[in-house]
C-alpha cells in the first residue's frame, strides 16, 4: 500500500515555522478547570522562546544538547520547549508527577529517562522541582535542574540557525523503568510529518483553523499532532490539561463548541469516557457540527464506542463522518495511516478464532475497524515471519516506510537495528491485515500494553509480582487485550503458581500488588499450573504466543512430569528469572 506523494514542505524546520506563525494573529488558548481562558498568541510564544533560548545559552546549554522538560500543560512548557529549539538544543518532554501519584515509581522512571536521553539540564516549575530532587540526583544532568522562571529572568534574544538534519526532539515510545527507548527525530522528519498531517486534515477555509486538545504534551499525538500542527498551518490551538479532562470530560466538548474547533484527536477510551461521564445538562448550547475531524488513535479502536458516540452526540450536531480511526507510532514521528476524511468508520466482521489460530481473515462476528491507507509519503506492507509480503486478508507484521520514520533510537544501535532494516522499513511490532486497500489492525507482536492511550512495558506489571508469595518467580506475563464485550484495551495477567502452592487468595494478592505498584487495575488474572506458559528453548517467556493461546483457548497445563522433568523445569525457571533480571 502506498500513500499519495508528500506535498512540498512549507518550512524546513520547526524554528522557521514558528517564526512564520508569529507573524499571524493566531495562537494558543489555555483552559483551566473553571473554564477560564488564557490567550498566548504565537508572536508572544516566539518572543518569550527567543528570550528563553538566550537564557539556556547563558546557562551553558550548547547546540545539540538535550534539555529535559518536566512541565504541565502551561505557558511555561512553551517557553522551555520552543526555547530549547531556538537554542539549537533538543527538547525531551517527560511526564510530570500526578497528584496523589506513586512517587517511588515516578522517581525511578524519570531518573532512567533522564539518563537514557543524556539530558544536560532539567527544566521544571517551582512546585515540581521540590519533588524532582531524587530523580535528578540519580541521573546527575551536567547543568542540574532549573525552573522556567529562573532561566527566563534576564533579558536576551537568541534564534539559532538549525538545519533539516538537526536532531529536533526525543520522545519515548513507552515511558517506563524497563528499557525506555528514546526515539530521535530530526527537524526535517517533523516537517514531513506535519505536511502529511495537513494534507489529511485540510483546515477549513471559511474560518480560522482551530484545534482543541487535552492530550499530554509529552505524548506524540498531543505534541506533534496538535501543538506543532497548529504552528505549521498556522492556526489556533486550545489546550486543556489532561487531568482536567479526566475529571471533567465535558470541558473538552464545550471547548470544541466554543472555539468551533475543526480537529481534535483522542484515544478510544476518551470517547468512552464522554459517553459515561458527560451529562446532557453539561452540554447546554453546545454545537459540535464544526468538529470535522474526530481522530481516534494511540490505542485499539472500538467500532462499538464510535457507534455509541455518534448516536449520543449527534443531538449536539456531531457528524458521524467526522470519526476517523487512525494509526501511528512514535517511531514514525506520529501518523502512518489515515482513513478518508468525511467517510466515517469502516469495519469488517471477522472470525476471531480463525484469526487467532490460523492468522487469516474469514467472515465472522468480531468487528475490526479500518485505520485507512498510508498518509502522504508513506508505504505500508504486511509481512509473514520470513519477511515475505502477504496477500490481502492474511495477518502478519505491519512494516512502514516514509519520510518521518525515525533515524534511530538515540544511543541504542542494537534496538535500532532490530526496528529498522537497510531499506528504511520500520517494523512496527503491530499485527494486521490488508483488505480493500486499507489496513486493519488485529493485535501486537511487540511486548506492549496500552492502557488509556499510555504505552506500558509488560515488565512494569510483571516485576510487581515478584514479591507475591505462592507464585513461581519470573513466570508471569502481562498482556494487553480487549475483553469480550468491552471496548477498551485492558490488562491481562497470566501467572504460574509455585509447585504445591496454595492457590486460594492468590488472584487477589496479584491484583493488589499490580494496582499498588503501577496504578493500573488488572481486568483478568488467570493463575495457571507451573509450565503452562509458552517459553523459548532457552526458557524465556513468549508473551505474544501466550496471548494467542489464551485467546484461542489453547492455554493448557503441561503433562505431568517425573522428577527429572521437574528438575529441568526448575532449572528453566531459574534461567528465565536470571534472564528477565538481566534484560530489565
Amino acid at each position: 500500500m502506498k500513500g499519495p506523494a508528500l506535498p512540498a514542505l512549507k518550512h524546513a524546520t520547526v524554528n522557521e515555522a514558528l517564526a512564520a506563525a508569529a507573524r499571524t494573529p493566531r495562537g494558543l488558548v489555555f483552559v483551566d478547570t473553571s473554564e477560564r481562558e488564557t490567550h498566548l498568541p504565537w508572536a508572544q510564544v516566539y518572543g518569550r522562546a527567543r528570550r528563553f533560548a538566550a537564557g539556556l545559552r547563558r546557562l551553558g546549554v550548547a547546540p545539540g544538547e538535550r534539555v529535559a522538560l518536566v512541565l504541565p500543560t502551561s505557558p511555561g512548557f512553551m517557553d522551555a520547549f520552543f526555547g530549547a529549539l531556538l537554542a539549537g538544543a533538543v527538547p525531551v518532554p517527560l511526564y510530570p508527577p500526578v497528584r496523589l501519584g506513586r512517587l517511588e515509581e515516578y522517581h525511578r522512571s524519570t531518573a532512567r529517562m533522564l539518563e537514557v536521553s543524556a539530558a544536560a539540564v532539567v527544566l521544571t516549575d517551582a512546585k515540581v522541582r521540590l519533588l524532582l530532587g531524587e530523580s535528578v540526583a540519580a541521573a546527575r544532568p551536567r547543568l542540574g535542574c532549573h525552573t522556567v522562571e529562573e532561566v527566563a529572568r534576564e533579558e536576551g534574544d537568541l534564534a539559532e540557525r538549525v538545519s533539516p538534519g538537526s536532531l529536533a526532539l526525543i520522545q519515548f515510545s513507552s515511558g517506563s523503568t524497563v528499557d525506555p527507548k528514546p526515539v530521535g527525530l530530526r527537524q526535517g522528519q517533523l516537517m514531513a510529518q506535519l505536511a502529511a498531517l495537513e494534507a489529511e486534515l485540510p483546515p477549513p477555509v471559511d474560518r480560522t483553523p482551530v484545534g482543541v486538545s487535552w492530550l499530554p504534551l509529552y505524548h506524540d499525538m498531543g505534541l506533534i499532532g496538535c501543538l506543532l500542527s497548529a504552528v505549521y498551518y498556522p492556526g489556533g490551538m486550545v489546550l486543556i490539561p489532561p487531568e482536567v479532562f479526566l475529571a471533567r470530560p465535558a470541558l473538552w466538548l464545550r471547548a470544541l463548541s466554543r472555539h468551533r474547533g475543526f480537529v481534535s484527536p483522542a484515544p478510544n477510551f476518551a470517547y468512552g469516557l464522554c459517553l459515561k461521564r458527560v451529562k446532557d445538562a453539561d452540554l447546554e448550547g453546545v454545537d459540535l457540527s464544526g468538529w470535522t475531524h474526530a481522530l481516534n488513535g494511540a490505542e485499539p479502536v472500538s467500532v462499538e464506542t464510535l457507534r455509541l458516540f455518534s448516536e449520543r452526540f449527534s443531538r449536539w450536531g456531531f457528524q458521524p463522518g467526522a470519526l476517523r480511526p487512525v494509526y501511528g507510532l512514535s517511531e514514525a514521528t506520529l501518523a502512518v495511516t489515515f482513513p478518508p476524511a468525511g467517510r466515517g468508520p469502516r469495519a469488517l466482521g471477522v472470525d476471531a478464532r480463525v484469526l487467532a489460530t490460523e492468522r487469516r481473515v474469514v467472515d465472522g462476528s468480531r468487528e475490526v475497524v479500518s485505520v485507512g491507507r498510508p498518509v502522504p509519503g508513506f508505504e505500508v506492507r504486511v509481512r509473514d515471519e520470513l519477511g515475505h509480503v502477504l496477500e490481502e486478508r492474511r495477518v502478519g507484521r505491519v512494516f512502514a516506510r516514509g519520510p518521518s520514520v525515525m533515524a534511530e533510537y538515540v544511543g541504542h544501535p542494537e534496538a535500532t537495528a532490530r526496528a529498522l532494516d537497510a531499506e528504511g522499513w520500520l517494523d512496527t511490532g503491530d499485527l494486521g491485515f490488508e483488505a480493500e486497500g486499507e489496513l486493519f489492525l488485529t493485535g501486537r507482536a511487540k511486548d506492549l500494553v496500552i492502557i488509556r492511550g499510555a504505552n506500558h512495558a509488560p515488565q512494569e506489571f510483571e516485576e510487581c509480582l515478584e514479591a507475591v508469595e505462592g507464585l513461581r518467580t519470573g513466570c508471569a506475563v502481562a498482556l494487553g487485550f480487549t475483553p469480550e464485550g468491552e471496548n477498551d484495551e485492558a490488562l491481562l495477567l497470566l501467572a504460574e503458581h509455585a509447585p504445591g502452592a496454595e492457590v486460594e487468595g492468590l488472584e487477589e494478592r496479584i491484583r493488589e500488588a499490580v494496582l499498588a505498584g503501577t496504578g493500573v487495575k488488572a481486568h483478568t488474572v488467570r493463575v495457571v499450573e507451573p509450565g503452562t506458559l509458552p517459553r523459548t528453548s532457552s526458557g524465556k517467556l513468549r508473551r505474544s504466543e501466550a496471548l494467542r493461546r489464551y485467546l484461542a483457548e489453547e492455554l493448557t497445563a503441561p503433562k505431568k512430569v517425573g522428577t527429572v522433568g521437574l528438575v529441568v523445569e526448575m532449572a528453566k525457571s531459574a534461567l528465565a528469572f536470571a534472564r528477565s533480571g538481566r534484560d530489565g
Binding site: 500526578v98 497528584r99 515516578y106 519533588l131 487531568e243 479526566l246 499498588a516
Partner: protein
C-alpha cells in the same frame, strides 16, 4: 471528626459513587487502593474534584502518607482551612 472533615468525607463519597462508579461503602478506614480499588485515573479524578470543590492544590508529594479515605479527608480539611500541611495521617 470535626465538621469540615465530614464535609470532605461527603464530597469523597459523592465523587467515588457518581464519577467513579463505586457502588460499595466509603468509610474513613477504607484503603484507597485495596478497598476502593482506585487506579491512577481514579486518584487523579478524586484529587482534581477535591481541588475544585475546596479550592486547594494537591500535589504528588501529598501521596506520601495518604493511604486511606481518612488520611485524604484530614489532608484536604487541613488544606481547606488554610493551614500548612499536617503531618502525614495526623489529625489537625
Amino acid at each position: 471528626m470535626v465538621e469540615n472533615e465530614l464535609a470532605v468525607l461527603r464530597e469523597i463519597r459523592r465523587i467515588v459513587s457518581q464519577e467513579l462508579e463505586w457502588e460499595g461503602e466509603v468509610e474513613p478506614t477504607h484503603h484507597l487502593l485495596k478497598d476502593l480499588q482506585l487506579d491512577s485515573m481514579g486518584l487523579t479524578v478524586l484529587a482534581v474534584e477535591l481541588e475544585n470543590h475546596f479550592r486547594i492544590r494537591l500535589s504528588a508529594e501529598d501521596s506520601v502518607g495518604v493511604n486511606t479515605v481518612g488520611d485524604l479527608m484530614r489532608l484536604v480539611a487541613t488544606r481547606a482551612a488554610g493551614e500548612p500541611r499536617a503531618a502525614a495521617g495526623g489529625a489537625p
